[in-house]
Each structure stands twice: as structure tokens, then as C-alpha cells.
Symmetry: C2
Subunit: 541 residues, 2 copies
């Protein structure tokens, strides 16, 4: 027997329609590429988005067609999104930090028909434009006066939408309809496209709005430093209009001074970015003896939070830090580090230790840790296992099936991370699954060993990888890049680890290397290290 | 093209499963009928609910079968809910304040197979038990020691679930599956059953969790005075376990002293009830010179908030009052009175005037006001029209089709209320549609006239109804029940209205009556008044 309730499909156009009706004068405040500040109300954004829909329809774009953007956070970028999604076309955000060849590969794989870009990225696109196989229309986020010369035959965004009617029909399709496309690149193989649905984005939006997640309301002012091309600005591009929060868009300027100016003049209450942005802001605040009187909450994700950033925000500036973990495949919110009830009155060190972990899943995200045979592992805060996740905003696969099967027999997505969970669902990532060292059937966290080794004053960088061992399958090798002018000994490095890790985790040997290879995002390239050390013989083997 | 996201069905069992995994030690604190306080963790509640499922399955209850409860708010009542819903049976909450004959009618219409009741309601049920046509099993929320003598052949709840396995399978059905049944009684006709689905209840839960709605988090302690048989305790029976908030259940004791004791000892942060409960609490606080240091937010709904209650909470006790409007058919949240951004810095009178209105709809609730030809009316804060509503948690009809068609051609549900809306979506109810006075094609609000008239010191109660008029179709008649010993004149009553309403709203006559007839819930029985005055001739006619 079915309930007798309305069939109200969860489509993203309803978010902006709600914003226009209920919070018409709330605003997006954009710092444009040229530096000027522009204010766009949700009512104006709605109408501008309708005009984008009109321009797309005139250009022959319809249900399921892909429209790409290569843009900074801005009101025009928001209009491009909602105008595309409203008519059932698919908004494809491209990360401009990728290699231009990879951008071309992705656009071809996605079969993008339209590309809308900021002037900043014009040189990148012009360099590879001959490789694009499907793009017919180029639009630049600018008005006629600020239109750069270009070889793309591009039209200015403001001209593109000028005079278009507001009558485009939105949302006349089922909620499972594709809505957004975002590619994620691993260390090997081609990028893989995550294809969000309207339903998944709306449900993810509702998750972000809950108090222990991002918890924004109509009275908040939210500054997403995290770009819209990073998994929907962690959902803020939907959650802010859904609640009526003001959005402050930093455009291309993400240095400490620029971010501080916006935080201060717009009285920002909630902000979100990766740790490096906050390092820049904190340095600027200290150098200029400034405070953050309006800011209540800072969301930090993308990589683990350094302890110094966490404590600075929490103790010097009285800002609540929410460590968040997620991936493109999880829309992206997976866990959030709001302090759980049993630690509200704990001492500062206990609270900070908790906040350095990745946090707890909100309702709508199911997490498990499993062993290699897919058995559930204990939530004891110590046992590590492969982290798998299930929920309405979690990927079930990749675009065109190019990326392989990622779900287990229970429908859980394998994150590729190794983590432990405590009895209150607090998750702590201990490694990437491909980097974990498997010794005698047990797992050794390479990250733990590296973090301790890198704390030695004579060490510039450190990596731990598994080396073949006839008895234990693998044993850890510690690889050290010495600090300039230093020559640490094997003995003093192993002494550094002593007592801080289990005895059997102690590396069987220490190797020295001039430079530890890094990948494009600055992370250690373990693949290359394993290649370099593939014939290494451990003294114990 | 469909998105490639997981098919995670929105079923209510996932709420309690999340609570057990992530907030296993958070609690429901129940004051039982006998007075003692019992603490039940979400982990225990989950397991107890599984045992209820086991008992139901043993009794032959399955998908779509109706299980009725007649109970106070308690952990056992919660377990009865989740145990029933988890297996796809339908939880039917019966309002014990209905006439026993109506309870029997409803149980028969619903074809309830099981009835679980608190001892308080045993006399009611025993009196009409011979009328029940489908109930096979009676369970009483008690253990063996506290089991009352009864003629129902009832089993004690604790015995019923004792030893049942925890292995009942939950949630193996589509999200559109019926989940809950709640009857609503109008002033005419039989009660009508609203049949909630799992999907509608889960989406409503996510709506309640947003900051500007109820906004509870894991660290909150929530006291729902509003009973679970009133539209799912306004959603709190779902929202609290979904976030991990503690629930404090007052059982049968809702007087000021009992409520205060729970607010204080459990450090309650959020509470919800109808205005009369708060009148009792405020009186108790003043008589005993007490404060509310822990309470942040009080939700008030069910009928309009008196100004005195609003101001007392906001100014004397520094508690944020959220006026909420909804109906059984809206799950129930329709609007909430969180202060909108443009009034955050307004003076106290402006803020209080805003808060006396019914509030603004959250994302997921679409409101419109329309005229009799179903044309949209302006949101100018003045124009009144029929209030219609659309959303994923709004009824599309009634159980068994008994209640007629309630949706218009655009899928909006007619609330039967007359309201105005301002440009920020603030809704203010001005009348019930059936009570509005239609004069010359325009509407006159009976509520406005009554509220002003009743403010006259010589008036005990006042009602305004429409009387036939050959030229204007209807004109208002003001009906007065004088205060004891008073004899107000027609002239002084009309003078009371002067300048406070539009001139053409002025009643054409004033009639006096010994006692204005009231309905079961204390509201003026306009139907009866119209019957009494059906042959009344206006002096102007």
C-alpha cells in the first residue's frame, strides 16, 4: 500500500524558485575577475538563470546535453548552473587546475556542447581548442566592454543572455534525471565522471542544511572559498539559495588580504576552504593584528587539518572549526567534525584531538569499515579497514561506465581510503587503501609513520611504503628526504618513531633520497616511489 | 539521461538505524504514567523496536496492516512506531481526546488489527470495545507488575516483546510505501485519514532539521509536549533520532510544574507545544520566581500565539519563540516564524508583530494564495486569499478516498484557510475559508473583527458571521456574549471597531446571545451560529 502524499519531484530548479519567492532580496556578492564587487539578488539570479535557459534552448541545447563551465565562484557562474540544470541539461564543472590536455580529454569524453569560461582561463583553452571535438559555443563570463580578444569566436555572457525571455520551462522531468557532471582524477588511468542526479543534489542540499552539518540559515552570510568546480562548492551552491543565506564569492582572489576584506565588510558568518587558504588568512591576521568578530564557523576539508590551524581558529579567534571529509563521489559531504555530545565538556586537548579526526556522518550517509573479505570491522577507534559508504547522494558508478564497478554486493561505494571508526561514528582516515602496508595480514598506516618522521628537525619530507618480505608479505620501508644540509642517521630516525607507534609497525629499514616525488596536487607520489624501490631488498628479508 | 547515483530509498527505519550507529548513548527520558522517570538510549530503542517488529510478525502483521496506538509520548510509544513502520506496517495514531464513538469509527475505518494503549485510556476503550470490528490484539504500555485489570484480554507491552529476536528485516520496500495514518476531523462529515509515506516522513524530517525550521542537533535536548498523536509530534519523533538530540517525554503530566521540572533537570534546549501549555508554564514560573536558563527555543503552534505569551518568552525569559503553522495534511510543518533577515535589527514591536504571524515556508513547502477562480493573488501583506500548498510531505488525498478531491489542477492542496502573504513569504492566517464573509465579491475576515470586539471590557466572547444581503451577497453580523453583569450597547461595540478595520468591514448589525456555542476544541462553532441566525434580517437589507 502506498501513502497518499503529493508527488513532488526533487529537482534543483525548486531551490532557486524557493529563493526567489521567499528570500528575493538576499544576495550573491561577487568579486569579479576585474576586482569590482557586484551584488546580485536571488530574484535577479533566478531571472538571469531563466535567460541562460533561453539562450541554451535557442542554441539547441536540451535534456541531457552537457554544458561545461571553467569558472571562478560568481553570480554569473551560479546563473549558468541553474539555467543549465533547470531545463534538464547537465552542468559539467571543469577544474581549471588540470593539465590543458586533460581538460580537452574530459570535454571530449563528456561531449560538452557549450563551454562557458572566465577570462583567466582563456589562454588554457585557446592552447588546446583544436582538440575539442564537440564544443560548438564558447561563452565568456563578461560583458561586451570587458570582452578579451580571443580566437574562440566566443560571445560575452551578458550579450548571450540579453533580451532572452524568462519563460523557459524548468523541472519537467523525473528527479533521477542527470543534473551535474564532475570528473575526478586518480593517480592512474583516465579521469572518471561522477554524474549527479537532481534527486541526489536536492537530498545532499537538505543534508548540508542540518545544524550539525553546515547549518546555514536565512540570516547567515556564507563565503565559499572552495570553488564551485570542487564537488559543487561542497554543496553550498545549493544550500545557500535553499535557506536564503547570502553568498560571498571571492572570484579569483583567494589570498589572505582579499579573503579577510570580504569576511569583514560582508560580516561573513560561515566560510569553507582547504587548509592552505586558512594558512594564508591566519598569517595575514597575525601580521596585521586583526580579529574575526562576525565569523562563527569555518569548514575545512580537502585534506587533513594541521593542528596549528585548528587551534588558531578555535582559541585565538573563537571560531568553530568543522573538519569535513568527502569526495567528488560523495557529493561531497561524508563526515563532519561538529563536536559530539559526550565531548562538549572535555578539556581542550581532547576536543582538539577529536576535531583533527574527519568527523561523523550525518543522517543520509552510511559508513562502514571492512576487511579485504568485506567483513564488517569493529568501531573501536583503533581497527583500520577499507572505508565504504552508502547513501542517496553517493555515486553508483561513473559516466559511460568508464571507471569500473565501485559498489560491493551491499551497494556500498569503496572510497579507496583506509580508516578507523569509534563507537560514536567518528571516522579517522589512516591511509589510502593503495598505500597501506600489509604485514602478516595486518595493516600498517603509512600516514602515521610519515607524520611522525617528518616531525624530526633533520627531515624535509618522509614516505613509508611496503616492500616485499617473504615471511610477512610486506614490511615498511621509511624513505627520507633530508632537510638542506642535514644528514640524519637511520638510528635517530627510528628513535623518533619509538613509543609513538606499535613496535611491529617500526620500519625494517630507512632509505634516503634526494627528492621525494610529488604529484600534481602536492601529495607524495607513492606510485613512483614504489617504482623506484621495486627491487629494494630489506635487511630482514 | 539519468544520474548515476545510488538508489537509497527514503524509509523511516534508516532514521533509527542512524541513531543507533552514530548516537547510541543519546536518550529518550520518559515520565511514565506512574510518575517515575525512565531513560532509554537510542541503541536500546532500536533493539526494543526490533522486538516490537518480532511480536507483530508473530501476530501475523505485515506490509500495509494497520497498528493503532492511543498513547502519551514515551519511549515505548516510539518503539511501537518504529517497530511497526520498519516492517512496512502502518502506524495509526489515535487522538484520545476524541469522543469514544469517534475512536471506534476511526479504528473500524482504518481496519486496525492491533491497538496499543496507555493505561490512562483503558476506560475509554473498554466502554466502546464491542464496537471494534477488526482489532484482534490489545497491548498496554506497561510491564506485568503495573498491568491494570481489564476486559480486553490485553497483554503487557513488556511481556509482548520479551524475548523476541532482533532479526526482523526492516525497510525492504519502496519509499512510497504507506507508513503512518492520522485522522483529522473537520466540523462536518466523518474524520478523514491522512496516509503518510516513508518518503514524505523522511523528507519532512530533513526539513525539520534545517536551522530556520526546528534546527536541532546532536547536542540539543528536545521536549515535545505536543503529543505524538498530533501529526507526529510536529515531526520531532523523527527529527530527534535523526540528529541524535535527546528527547524528553512528559507522558501524561503537562501542567506548569511538571513541565518546568523536566525543562530544568534535563537542561532542555528546545520545546514545542500549543499555547495553553505555555500559559500554564508561565504562570508557574512567575508564581515561583523561576527562570529558564537552558531553553533556547520554543515552538508554538496549533492555534495563534497570544501576544502576552510571545512577549513573556522573548523579553522576560530570553527564549526565541518560533510560531509554526501546519496541519495533519502537511505532516505538519507549513510555515515557521524564525525572524527574517530584514527584521533582525528592527525594534521590538516590529519584531513581535512579525512573530505573531504564522511565518515563512521552508524549502520543500510551496505556498500560494488564490481567489475563487484559482488566480494567484499578490504577496503584499494585505490581499487575502485561499491558502493552498504543495510539497513532498503534503497530502494528495485521504485514506480510501473518503474525503473528496483536495488538489487543484496544479497539484496544490487547499488548506481551507484564508491568508495573506508578504513579499518575503510571511504568511498570516486571516480566517477559515468557510467562515470568511463575502461582501460584494471581496472578503471580510471574521477573525479580525472578533479579535477587536473581544478586547472590549464588557465582552466575554464575540463572533462575526456573514448574513444574506440582497445587494452585497453577505454582510457581517457581530454576535456578542456580554461579560457577566454587563450590557454593552450596539453603539459602543461598533465604536470599538472604528479605525481598526476598513470602514466597509463594519458589521451591519450587532446581536446578543447568552452563550456563544463552542466546539470540542474550544473554538467558536460557526456552523451552529449560522444555524441559529439563519433567518436573521439585517436592518440594511
Amino acid at each position: 500500500m502506498q501513502g497518499i502524499m503529493q508527488d513532488w519531484q526533487l529537482t534543483t530548479n525548486k531551490i532557486l524558485e524557493h529563493a526567489k519567492r521567499i528570500n528575493p532580496t538576499r544576495e550573491i556578492i561577487t568579486r569579479r575577475v576585474g576586482g569590482e564587487i557586484v551584488r546580485t539578488s536571488y530574484s535577479q539570479l533566478h531571472d538571469l538563470s531563466k535567460q541562460v535557459s533561453g539562450a541554451l534552448i535557442e542554441g539547441g541545447i536540451g535534456l541531457g546535453d552537457r554544458v561545461a563551465t571553467l569558472g571562478w565562484n560568481s553570480a554569473r557562474h551560479m546563473a549558468a548552473w541553474y539555467g543549465t540544470m533547470g531545463i534538464g541539461a547537465v552542468l559539467h564543472t571543469i577544474n581549471p587546475r588540470l593539465h590543458p590536455d586533460q581538460i580537452a580529454w574530459i570535454a571530449n569524453h563528456a561531449e560538452d556542447k557549450v563551454l562557458i569560461l572566465d577570462t583567466t582561463f582563456l589562454p588554457i583553452i585557446e592552447a588546446v581548442k583544436d582538440k575539442f571535438e564537440t564544443i560548438k559555443t564558447y561563452v565568456i563570463f563578461a560583458d561586451a566592454d570587458n570582452m578579451p580578444e580571443n580566437s574562440l569566436g566566443a560571445i560575452a555572457f551578458d550579450d548571450w543572455v540579453a533580451g532572452k525571455s524568462l519563460n523557459a520551462s524548468w523541472g519537467d522531468f523525473p528527479e533521477e534525471t542527470a543534473c551535474g557532471l564532475c570528473y575526478t582524477s586518480g593517480t592512474t588511468g583516465n579521469p572518471k565522471g561522477v554524474l549527479y542526479s537532481h534527486r541526489s543534489n536536492v537530498l545532499h542540499t537538505m543534508i548540508t542544511m542540518s545544524k550539525d552539518a553546515m547549518g546555514m540559515g536565512a540570516n547567515d552570510v556564507v563565503l565559499p572559498v572552495v570553488p564551485m568546480f570542487h564537488a559543487n562548492a561542497w554543496g553550498l551552491a545549493f544550500g545557500c539559495p535553499a535557506t536564503g543565506a547570502n553568498m560571498v564569492m571571492p572570484g579569483a582572489q583567494m589570498d589572505g588580504a582579499s579573503i579577510y576584506e570580504l569576511l569583514d565588510t560582508e560580516k561573513v558568518t560561515i566560510t569553507a576552504a582547504v587548509p592552505t587558504v586558512w594558512l594564508g588568512l591566519l598569517t595575514y591576521l597575525r601580521e596585521n593584528d586583526l580579529k574575526l568578530p562576525h565569523l562563527n564557523k569555518v569548514l575545512i576539508g580537502g585534506s587533513a587539518i594541521p593542528d596549528a590551524i585548528l587551534r588558531a581558529f578555535e582559541t585565538e579567534y573563537e571560531v568553530d572549526v568543522i573538519h569535513a571529509w568527502g569526495m567528488t563521489e560523495t557529493s561531497p559531504l561524508g563526515t563532519l567534525g561538529s563536536l559530539p555530545p559526550h565531548l562538549m565538556d572535555a578539556d581542550i586537548d581532547t576536543r582538539m584531538t577529536q576535531k583533527l579526526k574527519q568527523g561523523r556522518p550525518p543522517f543520509g550517509v552510511e559508513l562502514k569499515i571492512v576487511d579485504d573479505e568485506n567483513n564488517d570491522l569493529a568501531w573501536d577507534g583503533e581497527t583500520s579497514g577499507r572505508l565504504v559508504v552508502r547513501g542517496p547522494a553517493i555515486a553508483a558508478g561513473y559516466f559511460k561506465g568508464d571507471g569500473g564497478n565501485v559498489l560491493d554486493e551491499n551497494g556500498f561505494f569503496d572510497t579507496g581510503d583506509v580508516a578507523n571508526m569509534d563507537e560514536f561514528g567518528t571516522m579517522q582516515i589512516t591511509d589510502r587503501a593503495k598505500d597501506v602496508i600489509k604485514s602478516g595480514g595486518e595493516w600498517i598506516s603509512s600516514i602515521d609513520i610519515e607524520n611522525i618522521a617528518v616531525g624530526h628537525p633533520k627531515v624535509a619530507n618522509a614516505a613509508a611504503i611496503g616492500i616485499y618480505h617473504p615471511k610477512w608479505d610486506e614490511r615498511p620501508l621509511l624513505i627520507i628526504q633530508a632537510a638542506p644540509g642535514e644528514e640524519p642517521s637511520k638510528e635517530e630516525l627510528l628513535a623518533q618513531l619509538e613509543g609513538k607507534i606499535a613496535k611491529w609497525w617500526t620500519p625494517d629499514d630507512v632509505a634516503f633520497i634526494d627528492e621525494i616525488p610529488l604529484g600534481a596536487t602536492g601529495k607524495i607520489n607513492k606510485l613512483k616511489l614504489r617504482e623506484i624501490f621495486k627491487d629494494y631488498k630489506l635487511p630482514t628479508a
